[in-house]
Each structure stands twice: as C-alpha cells, then as structure tokens.
C-alpha cells in the first residue's frame, strides 16, 4: 500500500485530556485509552501540564475559581484538533459549562466554545468521529454498563458505550436494572454526606451483583471510584472497569 496519491486519508489526531482523577488515580485507564486509540489509527498526543477541568469547584458553587482553572485548560488544548476525555463529567463540564463561565468575556467565551466543539467523551469520539462500532478486543467476559449521570443526562449519551460493548467479540453485555440511577458519588457529596452516598451505592451494587456480570463498566472516574471502592470493600469478585480497559484488553486481569 503506497502513501502517494488521492485516497489516503491522514490519521486522525487527538489530544488526551486525562482529568485529575485519571492522572492521579487511574493512569492505567489513560494507558488503555492510548493503546485503544492508536490501535484504531489515531495519532495521540498529550499536552503536558494538565491539572483539572474545574468541575469540583464549579459544582460546589465556586465559579470564579472554576473559571480560572478552565482558562488554563483551554490554553493547553488551544491547538488540538480533537480532545478525547475518559470521563463523561469532565467532558460535560468542558462542553456545556465552559462557555457560560466566560459570559462577560467575549474572547475567552469564543475560545471556550471552540474547545467545547472539539471535545468528546471517549465513546462519543469512537462512534461519532472515527465511525467505529466494533473493536477487536482481547477482553473476554460478561459485563454490565452503568450510565454515569453527566454522560447520560448532561451529554445525552447512552447508546455509544453500549454499541461498543456489544461490538466487542468477547464481551457479553447484560443490561443493568436501574442503569440510569445515580451511583451516589456526586463529587464532594460523597464526603459531605457519606452515609447517604453509601446507601445509594449499596442500592446500585445490589443491582450490579444481581446481574451476575464479571464487571461493571462506566465512562466516568468518579463512578468507578465509588462503585469500585464499594465492591472492593465488600470483597466482591465483581470488578469496576473503564470502557477503555474493556475495549483495549488492558484490564489488568
């Protein structure tokens, strides 16, 4: 196959927004994403100096602080063609909330809108930009999928992750009863009201374990921390995995 002539498309280039939780607590998810995306012919880069998208500040009402952090993030990804995010909540923050943080600053607002357009959560990037619905993953097992709130309701996305899971040949997807119900994380909520957060989590884990699946899959680090933390404390054999880990086979198994 030669590179000359018409008909050869240049590789898609995407920058990885790793997110604060991803960077500090789930680097293996980042590694899985890189492997997955490269396997699909994507040129992956990683703007260095990333910290946080500002969501925790925003959700607690510290909008001024959130805007400061958002401004930094926008600058880092200024030249990225596509930005791919492993967490639905961070993608939501960038896509829907960044522009509003700068409503009185037309220049930065325009920059925020530009970034919002170029940013997608991982499953959305795979399906919408790459047009991929079937990934040849070495993963084998039964999984059940939890809809994280910001991806489901904030970004209106519930199909792409399921499409991708069904498309992976070794994966059996079992639908989770109450998949659209919150896991109880809610960011600072999880430590402000830990008992309520845990009660909500217990309801979720009962559903998960009821499916008989080997693992519960989500597209959000917060949900994975919450569900994974609960499953681990119970000594459950069920694992909490990120979509990228299932699709790349980098599930640490």
């Amino acid at each position: 196959m030669t590179a000359a002539g018409a008909g050869v498309t240049p590789p898609v280039r995407a920058s990885l927004m790793i997110t604060c939780l991803g960077d500090l607590l789930f680097p293996e998810v980042g590694v899985a994403m890189v492997k997955l995306l490269r396997g699909l012919g994507v040129e992956v880069d990683f703007p260095e100096g990333q910290t946080c998208c500002g969501l925790p500040l925003f959700n607690s009402g510290y909008h001024h602080e959130a805007a400061a952090v958002a401004g930094r993030t926008m600058a880092l990804f200024e030249r990225s063609e596509h930005v791919v995010v492993p967490s639905g909540s961070c993608a939501w923050m960038v896509k829907t909330e960044y522009p509003g943080l700068f409503k009185d600053d037309p220049r930065r607002r325009a920059a925020a809108e530009s970034l919002a357009d170029r940013t997608r959560e991982l499953s959305q990037f795979l399906v919408e930009v790459l047009g991929v619905t079937r990934v040849e993953s070495p993963f084998r097992g039964t999984v059940t999928y939890h809809d994280s709130c910001h991806l489901l309701r904030g970004l209106g996305e519930s199909r792409s992750p399921r499409t991708l899971l069904r498309g992976a040949p070794g994966v059996t997807l079992v639908e989770l009863p109450g998949a659209d119900q919150c896991c109880g994380f809610g960011g600072s909520f999880s430590v402000r009201l830990p008992e309520v957060s845990t009660a909500i989590l217990e309801r979720k884990l009962a559903s998960v374990e009821g499916t008989g699946a080997d693992c519960v899959v989500a597209c959000d680090a917060g949900c994975l921390m919450q569900m994974g933390g609960g499953l681990s404390r119970k000594g459950s054999r069920v694992r909490a995995l990120h979509l990228a880990q299932v699709l790349s086979g980098e599930d640490g198994a």
Partner: protein, 482 residues
C-alpha cells in the same frame, strides 16, 4: 419541623432516616411505583413532550405579564362576588384567615390538601385561636392524627404502615380497626363525612387560578376538594401568587400533564373549577369565597436566581426519582417542601441561610430535571445556590479556604505534581493490598465504607514519556459501521 428539631444537623437527620428500616422499604416501594406509573403514562402519550415544552413556555410567558394576569384574576373573582386578599407574608395570610374565622363565627374548618397552608403553619394558628382544623385528605388526616408533617408532596403518609394507621384510627375514633386499607378508608369516609356536613368553613389550596375567568382549579382524587368547596358556608383558597395562568386554553395544557407526572393517571378523579361563591339560584355552595394570594418570598424571585422554580406545579415527580429523597424521605429535609424542588422552594421562602446544608443534599444527577413536567433546571439552580451560600459567607470559613486552596493547586502544574508526590508519601501507611482502606480526618468519611485507589506510583503524566512517540496502529483493530 420545629426549631429544636432543625438544630439537629441535616446529616444527622438523614442518618436517622437511613436507619429506619420501615421508612427505607416504604420509600423504595412508593417511589419505584410512582416512577413506573409516570413512565408508563408518558410512554403511551406521544403528545406529552410537546405539551411539556408548551407548559414551560406558558409559565414563563405568564411571569412576563404577571401583574396584569393577577389584576385580571382579582377583578374576575370580585365580579363573581368573591373577595381577594393580598398576603405579603405567611403571618399576614394566617391573620386574614383568623380574622375571617372571628368575623364569621367559625368553629370548625375542613381542609383539603394544600401545601400553601402547610407552608404558613395555618393549622397551628387556627388551633391557637380556638378553631378546629380537620384535614380531610386521607394522607393528611392520618398525619394530623399522628401529629406529624407530610413526608411527600402528594402522598403525605407514605412513611406510615397500615398497622400504624390502624392504631392511630383505633385510638382517635374509639374503635378497633383492622390493618386493612379498605377498612381504614371506610372508617375515614364515615368519620369525615359528618365533619364536612357540619363545618363552618372550607379551606383549600389551588393548583391553578385562571385569570380570564376568575376560576380556581383543584386537582384531587378523593372528593374532599369538592366537599370542602360545596358544603361549608365559607370557602377560603390560599394560593401562591405564581399559580395564576391566563386562560382556559392554557389550563388544558397543564391538565394534560399534571396528573400523568404526579401519579401516572391521565386525569385525577376530580378536577374542580370553582368560580366564586354559589350563584343566585344555585342550591348549594358557599355563601362567601375568599382567595388569598401569597407572596412570602415568591415575588422577589421574579427577577431572582430562582425564577424558574416559580414554574413548579407541585407534582412530586422530582422527589420520586431523586436518589437522595429516595433514601432519606421528606421529613429529614426539615421543611415543608422536600426533595429537589423543595430545596429551592425553601431557599425562596426562608432565605439562603436556611439551605446552607440542603444545597449540598444532591448528587446533581439531573434525574429531577428529566421528569419535571415544566422542565425546571433544578441542578443549575442548586449549583447557583451553592455559589450564593459561598458568596454570602454562609458556608463555614474552613470550607471556603479549602476550595481556594484547591483552586491554587488546580491552577499550577507544579503544585499539582507536588500534590501527587505528597499524596503518595502521606498515604503510604494506609495502603493495603493495592488499596487505601483507611484515611484520617475528613477523608475518613470515604474510607469508612469504601476503599480508594491509591495515588499511583507513577501518574499518567509521569508515564507519558514511555508512551509518547508511539505510532498510530494500522487501524485493523477497529471496524466502522457498515
């Protein structure tokens, strides 16, 4: 909730609710049932989504000409022989009712379910003045006997077992009643029937008031709304001023979606349109009709951050889907209106300070916004409330300092990296089997019930140099949709 009870911090009230096994079961069954009923109702109603959008627009449009609509409503009520009263505060509204009772020699009042009258603590005021208020909505009657407040906007006694109800009835009605809903309902019917016939005054709320015609609209299921507005000689309706809608045509839009959202019914058993006192030549109905329009913090929100909360139809759909409400029930919130919209309404009616804890009683999951018939963006307003709680320095100093520090760390890659290194060092004693199982202080709230992944030995940023420069693959691992 009494001031003494409110002094118990919200997390403790919530904790108590979590330990109440019956409440937990009752909440799960009831909210699940309401969720399913609502889903079914809208699944079989394709016109529903457009009607919800239209209902939202009508509410907004009404606010944009609110003074004109209220003026027209008042004119029409008065033209029909009714009286209109304007209450700036709950206290004023109570005073108006008490004055009417004094002037009309009222000794007993029968009440149809009204959140507005709960909001202004009307029953206590009536009792204090020697007037006996009798709640006639079965759920309200039950909690009145129990001396409690409602725990759900449309199913006030959701937290009571039939056994508890049987006990309450047996004590209050001097008999022995089986723990059977049919038996208990029949007992209430018999007991309350005479009260309806004997009462001097009927007090209701209003779901809507149609400005164009001077009509007050009651959406009910039991028939007590009809009794209360037809049998006693005086009818008083207490209504939040934002419930006014312009016309009968507008009313149909709301009727189409209200019952479906609340209980999954197409229409409630009774929708009663009341135009003032009885007409000349009409045999039955009250001699007098009084409409009390209530401000109590609502007017201030016309141009305020909680303006959208004025659209609320009080259907209760948001309570049923809220992960927090579903776990703790209505009482733990501590105020008249619980659940997601309840937090906003409490801020509206009692000020920001009253919700400094409640503003955080949400995971911001957005399920409430999904089911709200008029699509109120509750999560957005909760976040804004949190902002006000911060700005008005209502939140504790330590918390505000912590978030300012967080901002500094998030704004500096160097600080962020250092934070990771510090985290790795500090966590070392607590890591077991690749997981953090215990953490001190504030973070112990997580580890009390959940493990935590430790700060990675190498963050992704630190690992990138091993991954950087890797080529894109040959694309064979993925396949596009045909």
């Amino acid at each position: 909730m009494s001031d003494a009870e409110l002094r118990v911090p919200f997390p403790q009230r919530a904790g108590a609710a979590l330990k109440d096994a019956f409440l937990q079961e009752a909440l799960t069954i009831a909210t699940t049932k309401f969720i399913d009923l609502r889903k079914e109702a809208f699944a079989g109603f394709p016109a529903g989504e457009a009607l919800r959008d239209q209902a939202r627009r009508i509410k907004e449009a009404t606010l944009q000409r609110l003074d004109a609509h209220l003026g027209r409503l008042a004119d029409n009520v008065e033209r029909l022989g009714g009286h209109v009263h304007w209450a700036s505060t709950g206290a004023e509204a109570r005073e108006i009712v008490l004055r009417l009772c004094r002037e009309r020699g009222v000794r007993t009042v029968v009440k149809s379910k009204s959140m507005a009258t709960e909001e202004i603590d009307l029953n206590e005021a009536l009792e204090g003045a020697g007037v006996t208020p009798i709640e006639t909505d079965l759920g309200e009657y039950i909690i009145q006997l129990a001396g409690e407040k409602p725990s759900h906007i449309i199913a006030p006694a959701i937290h009571k077992t039939k056994g508890q109800v049987a006990e309450l009835f047996s004590k209050a009605l001097d008999g022995r009643f089986a723990a059977d809903p049919e038996v208990l309902t029949a007992a209430a019917r018999k007991e309350l029937r005479q009260k309806f016939l004997d009462a001097d005054m009927g007090i209701t709320g209003a779901n809507f008031a149609v400005a164009e015609t001077g009509t007050v609209v009651l959406v009910t299921n039991e028939g007590n709304g009809r009794m209360v507005t037809s049998l006693p000689r005086v009818h008083v309706a207490v209504m939040g001023m934002e419930k006014v809608i312009p016309s009968m045509t507008d009313l149909m839009v709301f009727l189409a979606i209200l019952a479906r959202s609340a209980t999954g019914q197409q229409l409630s058993s009774y929708t009663t349109l009341v135009r003032g006192p009885r007409q000349p030549g009409e045999l039955e109905g009250p001699e007098e009709f009084h409409l009390i329009l209530l401000d109590s913090g609502r007017i201030r929100q016309i141009a305020g951050p909680l303006r959208e909360a004025l659209y609320c139809l009080r259907c209760g759909a948001c309570l049923n889907v809220c992960p927090v409400y579903r776990q703790i029930g209505g009482h733990a919130y501590g105020h008249t209106y619980p659940g997601p919209i309840g937090i906003l309404l409490t801020a509206m009616l009692r000020g920001t300070e009253s919700v400094k804890e409640l503003a955080h009683a949400s995971t911001l999951c957005g399920a409430c916004k999904d089911v709200c018939p008029v699509r109120i963006d509750i999560p957005r307003m909760l976040i804004e409330l949190r902002e006000h709680v911060d700005q008005e320095k209502v939140a504790p100093w330590a918390e505000r300092a912590m978030f300012r520090a967080a901002r500094r760390i998030m704004s500096s890659p160097a600080l962020f990296r250092m934070g990771a290194r510090v985290g790795r060092l500090l966590q070392a004693p607590w890591v077991r089997g690749g997981r953090v199982r215990r953490l001190p202080l504030f973070l112990g709230r997580w580890t009390a019930t959940r493990d935590l992944p430790p700060v990675a030995q190498r963050t992704f940023s630190e690992r990138w140099k091993d991954l950087a420069g890797g080529p894109p693959g040959d694309g064979r691992r993925g396949r596009r949709a045909p």
